[in-house]
Symmetry: C2
Subunit: 148 residues, 2 copies
C-alpha cells in the first residue's frame, strides 16, 4: 500500500491547474470530505441520527476517495497564504516536503481503513474508533500547515 | 440497486444544513467530481496525459462517491436561484421532484458503472465510453435544472 500511495501522491493525473483553481478544488475536496465526516459523527459518535450502515459506507467511501485522489497536485507553488489571500495554507508547507508527504499518507491510510471498517460492517463502535483516527490525521496537517 | 439508490437519495444522513451550507457543500461536491472527470478526460479521451489505470480508478471512485453521497439532502427548500444569488439551481427543480429523482439516479447509475469499468480494468476505450455516459447524466440535470 505504501508504494501505491506514493505513486498516487506523486504523479499528476492531469495538466496542472492554475493557482486559483488549485485552491478552490482542494477546498472543495475538503468541504466534501468534512460533510461526510459530519454524517459519521452524527450517526456513530453523537447518535443524533439513526445509524445506517449503507449511509456510513457511502460516507466512508467519499472520505477515502478524497484522501486517495492525489491532492498533492493541488498544493503547487504559489498556493500558500503568503502569495494568495484565499487560502490558509502556511508557506512552511513548501519548506517541509517530507512532513507534507507524511501527513498526506497518514490521511490516506486512515481514510482507507475507515472505508474498510465500513465495508466490512465493522459496526458503530469500530467505525467511531477509526473516525477518531481520521480526525487525528486531519489535525496533524492543520497543526503543521494551516493558519488559525 | 434501484432500491439501494432510492434509500440513499431519500434518507437524510445528518441534520439538515442551513441554506448557504447546502449550496456551498453541493458546489464543492460537484467541483470535486469535475476535477476527477477532468483527469479521465485528459487520460482516456484527450490523451494529453499518459494513461494510468490506478489514477483512473481513483478518479472513478471519487466521481461515484459524489454521485452516491446523498446529494438530494443538499437541495432543500430555499436553495434555488429565486431565493439565493449563490446558486444556478432553477426553481423549477422543486416543481419536478420525479424528474429530479430521475436525473439523480441517472448520475448515480452512470458513475457507479464508471467505477466498475475502472475497477475491472476495462481499459481506455471502455472507460472513455462510460465517461461519455456520465457526461450525459450531468447534462441531463444541467439542461433541466441549471441556469445558463
Amino acid at each position: 500500500m505504501a508504494l501505491a500511495l506514493s505513486a498516487a501522491v506523486a504523479a499528476p493525473a492531469m495538466a496542472q491547474l492554475d493557482v486559483e483553481d488549485q485552491i478552490e478544488t482542494r477546498q472543495s475536496a475538503f468541504t466534501f470530505a468534512a460533510w461526510n465526516m459530519g454524517k459519521i459523527k452524527a450517526q456513530a459518535i453523537d447518535g443524533s441520527v439513526a445509524y445506517n450502515e449503507q449511509q456510513m459506507l457511502a460516507a466512508a467511501n467519499a472520505i477515502a476517495s478524497v484522501a486517495n485522489s492525489g491532492l498533492g497536485s493541488l498544493f503547487g507553488p504559489g498556493t500558500a497564504n503568503d502569495k494568495n489571500d484565499n487560502t490558509k495554507l502556511l508557506p512552511v508547507f513548501f519548506d517541509k516536503p517530507e512532513k507534507a508527504r507524511e501527513v498526506a499518507i497518514g490521511f490516506a491510510q486512515a481514510a482507507t481503513k475507515l472505508q474498510e471498517v465500513a465495508a466490512n460492517g465493522g459496526g458503530k463502535s469500530a467505525l467511531a474508533a477509526q473516525f477518531s483516527e481520521v480526525g487525528k490525521s486531519c489535525k496533524a496537517c492543520h497543526d503543521e500547515f494551516r493558519a488559525e
